[in-house]
């Protein structure tokens, strides 16, 4: 017996990360932030002291786990 048709596969949102300087979102892998013009990968005090590095790490782990489960 066949069940209902499966919906076509959906698109996933592209990965964005925070610029570690100005805390605006940029696409993963972006070197120069389009907003502040600085190196978006270089850690600022605001990023480190605001707890954003810990959150970023947790998000990276979450994404890796999800991708393994695909």
């Amino acid at each position: 017996m066949s069940g209902p048709p499966a919906p076509p596969q959906g698109r996933t949102a592209p990965v964005l990360v925070l610029c570690r300087q100005c805390l605006r979102y940029v696409f993963e892998g972006t070197a120069t932030c389009p907003h502040c013009g600085r190196d978006s990968r270089e850690m600022s005090e605001r990023y480190r002291d605001g707890g954003y590095l810990e959150i970023e790490t947790i998000q990276r782990i979450d994404r890796a786990v999800e991708r393994r489960g695909e």
């Binding site: 069940g3 209902p4 048709p5 499966a6 919906p7 076509p8 596969q9 959906g10 698109r11 996933t12 949102a13 592209p14 964005l16 925070l18 100005c22 805390l23 605006r24 979102y25 696409f27 389009p34 954003y52 959150i55 970023e56 998000q59 994404r63 999800e66 991708r67 489960g69 695909e70």
Partner: protein, 402 residues
Amino acid sequence: MAELMLDDGPSRRLSLRDQIDCVPVYVVWEITLACNLKCVHCGSRAGHRRAKELSTSEAIDVVRQLAELGTREISIIGGEAFVRKDWLTIVRAIHDHGMDCTMQTGGYKLSREMIESAARAGLLGLGVSVDGLQPLHDRLRGVPGSYFEALRVLDDCRSVGLIASVNTQITSTIMPQLPELMDVIIDAGAKYWQIQLTVAMGNAVDNDEILLQPYELTTLMPLLADLHQKGRERDLLLLPGNNIGYFGPYDVLWRGPDRGYYGGCPAGQNAIGLEADGTLKGCPSLATERYGAGDVRDTPIAELWATHPALQFNRNRGVDDLWGFCRTCYYAEACRGGCTWTADSLLGRRGNNPYCHHRVLTLAERGIRERIVKIEDAPALPFATGRFALVEEPIPAADIGP
């Protein structure tokens, strides 16, 4: 029409698998169009029940079908949902099928006893609309006394132990009232506050003077950021609705990084809207004429969900149908024009959304702002849209900061 509840509930968090498999995680269901308020911004022009609303047994079958599709939360709305006599039966059915059930309400004539009954039936949370301080709220809601009724419902929720959130429509005159309104709803017991822009649909097209102009986001967004931070210190979480955006300097406050950034409109990919007469849509607020996908009495929901073109538009959407500013925006691939409902209702076509903070700031750097002007009224039908023109103009010298 009620507003969506919280974009942030745990049941609504989307996994990669949810997105790829197009699981309809979250459903907003108008169980009746009957309403005891007369809101001047109501997109569905609620008031009288629809001609052929689903029967109790049909409604329970809808619940079963949605559970089988993987839905995790159903939010019942109206009209005014509790005007329907069997609303508690529907709440109980949703709960018994293992899904979270929430409800949006104006709160007018929703007694404490009814709230207690709903909690016993399995209602998880109640979203109450409060659209300003008393004079503004009562004027917008069209019924004197509705403001104090809404606050009373919040207080009743607190004493019953039901999670209460407040939804507030951002209209053209509300901004100066928001700080005091926050004090009021904290005192009344609210823990969550969802903000949403009033959209150009239905009654809001008739009364277009209540619509915010896009350029006013330069004032609104810093104000919301300030309230968000002050609210957190007082155990109130201010959250943006789907049409508050996108990717501006304050997104890091309310959309992450701990909760995740805006991933584009979920309509038809991870969200379903259902009208009381059984019409299925990708989002409850979308124009029925362009986005209605058929009657659930005629075709199983799984079949409509998998095959109907009106539900497919977001699933593999790139940037091809974006236009105007959104087409060349840095965030185009992620955002895809933001809230489909907002853009489509305003301009008759999705993919270009002037209600965007990033856009407003980018244009302001060029000395430009955008203003909307009504050019066509909306028909006297639920979820009807009119037509607005987008006027680009120099920012008046008086509005340019030092």
